[in-house]
């Protein structure tokens, strides 16, 4: 049997062996409901779609997903089971992937359990179900990016609280990067620089092109920017590739950190 699958299965079962899984799923569903109906104003919007849910999901993930990922490596370190695991005939990658997929599957199940909301909008109107499906796929893939960050932060420390806080902060930075406030602030900064009196016209052009590159770069790094188009039903290859790269990067970092601390 595939080693990744063996580790995935053990890890996944361990979520349900403690109250963690049930507490997480219940809280997630309650908050997702609050996001959709109360904060997101599904009824008030007069539109039968899941936009209110998807709009607030990145923020909901921000403090719930780190709670799932914080234990991935920190707990193994603390309890010493990491020594047991890495002296079995498994490679580092099999362990990193098995654990990551288990966490991803778990969050995916929590996400899928928001289906009553989808039934509700179908009852209330005629939503574009293709767009809803695309939104769910996007939400699932974005969860993977949050979890990959979490896996990396958890590999960094043997303290779960530190892993939680670091994951939340890094994900917050990734989410924040796409907010208009941040891009405007960045543009403002460069405009101010271009306004310096000693700058010639050529120098100003240079500043403006740097401005465009940096500001677009920052916005391009954001979870929000890439999730926004998916949540509207557009599954663009660009956005999927972006999340794939984020996941790959942070899983590689997890493996490198684990290897380094051997």
């Amino acid at each position: 049997m595939n080693k990744v699958r063996i580790i995935l299965r053990r890890e996944f079962a361990s979520y349900f062996a403690t109250p963690l899984a049930y507490v997480f799923i219940v809280i997630f569903l309650i908050l997702a409901g609050v996001c959709t109906f109360s904060l997101g104003g599904l009824y008030e919007s007069g539109q039968a779609d899941l936009a209110p849910l998807f709009r607030l999901l990145p923020w909901l993930y921000l403090f719930l997903v780190p709670a799932v990922s914080m234990r991935l490596w920190a707990e193994e370190r603390k309890s010493g089971t990491i020594e047991l695991l890495f002296t079995q005939p498994v490679t580092l990658w099999q362990a990193v992937l098995g654990k990551f997929f288990a966490a991803w599957l778990f969050v995916g199940i929590a996400l899928a359990l928001t289906f009553p909301t989808w039934i509700t909008v179908n009852y209330l109107g005629n939503p574009d179900n293709g767009a809803v499906l695309a939104g769910y796929i996007g939400a699932f893939i974005m969860a993977g990016a949050y979890l990959a960050v979490g896996s990396c932060m958890s590999a960094l420390t043997n303290n779960q609280v530190i892993a939680f806080v670091l994951t939340a902060v890094v994900c917050f930075a990734f989410a924040l990067a796409g907010l208009p406030a941040v891009t405007e602030w960045s543009r403002g900064l460069f405009d101010w620089m271009a306004g310096w009196s000693f700058m010639g016209a050529g120098a100003k052009d240079v500043v403006h092109s740097i401005d465009n590159a940096v500001t677009d770069g920052i916005a391009g790094l954001s979870f929000l920017t890439h999730f926004e188009s998916i949540s509207k039903g557009v599954l663009a290859l660009r956005d999927l590739l972006y999340f794939g790269l984020v996941i790959t990067f942070f899983l590689l970092s997890s493996a490198a950190l684990l290897e380094k601390r051997k």
Binding site: K3, I6, I7, A13, T18, T81, E83, T87
Partner: protein, 236 residues
């Protein structure tokens, strides 16, 4: 068999293990002795492939731990210090997980699982989660995990720590029983254990090898003929 060649581990300038070269042949039970912090666990971790040496190498059954880790780990049964197990799992679930990782299948799997469960008397606690077990049972689960795949090489870091005298005796009997065709290394600071199960003993202090002899040979080094006098003299 186990071979180490100039095995060395430094932690930020601190010497944990320095230039350790030895080999252990099939049929031998090597007692690994030394005061706390002498580098016993670090050495075992390097042989088991959990800690990367600063320099030097280790091999298990001819497979280099650094370059052929999977082959080396397949031939090895390892009990880490403190016998860590996944506490939320049941004993049966945990042993199944290890059997999966060890790719045990079919009749062999059943025979081996039945053997370790019977031999380490785990029948009564199979459906209990490991967290709820006593220290003695936890240690036995750790041992079961280490021998379930009938490995050629066995490294046990303090296998009898925390066991009562009856259980200690049981574990020693088990080790002697399977010792014939296996290569076994056990670390301990209970010197009577060396007499009871080991055919050879190595004493390390401050990361260096200070004695390598049979238990009888070691005893002959002290006028009193007692192992702990020898230990105190060389480990100081």
């Amino acid at each position: 068999m186990i071979k180490t060649q100039n095995l060395t581990k430094h932690y930020q300038g601190l010497v944990a293990v320095e230039d350790l070269t030895f080999s252990v042949e099939p049929g031998e039970v090597l007692g690994f002795l030394g005061p706390n912090g002498a580098g016993k666990s670090t050495t075992m971790r390097m042989i088991a492939g959990f800690v990367t040496p600063t320099s030097g190498s280790a091999s298990i059954c001819g497979f280099d731990v650094a370059t052929q880790p999977i082959a080396a780990k397949t031939a090895l049964g390892y009990l880490p210090e403190g016998a860590p197990c996944y506490g939320e799992m049941t004993v049966a679930g945990f042993l199944d997980f290890i059997a999966d990782l060890r790719a045990l299948e079919g009749a062999t799997r059943k025979t081996r699982l039945d053997y370790v469960i019977g031999r380490l008397q785990l029948d009564g606690v199979l459906e209990q989660s490991i967290d709820t077990l006593s220290k003695g049972f936890k240690r036995r689960v750790g041992l079961a995990q280490a021998i379930v795949h009938d490995p050629k090489v066995l490294i046990l870091d303090e296998p009898t720590d925390g066991l009562d005298p009856v259980q200690k005796h049981e574990v020693r009997t088990l080790i002697s029983e399977i010792a014939k065709e296996k290569t076994i290394v056990i670390s301990t600071h209970i010197l009577e254990e060396v007499d009871a199960v080991c055919t050879r003993a190595i004493i390390i202090a401050h990361g260096r090898l200070v004695a390598d002899d049979t238990p009888a040979g070691l005893k002959a080094r002290a006028p009193s003929g007692r192992l702990d006098d020898v230990f105190r003299a060389v480990a100081a």
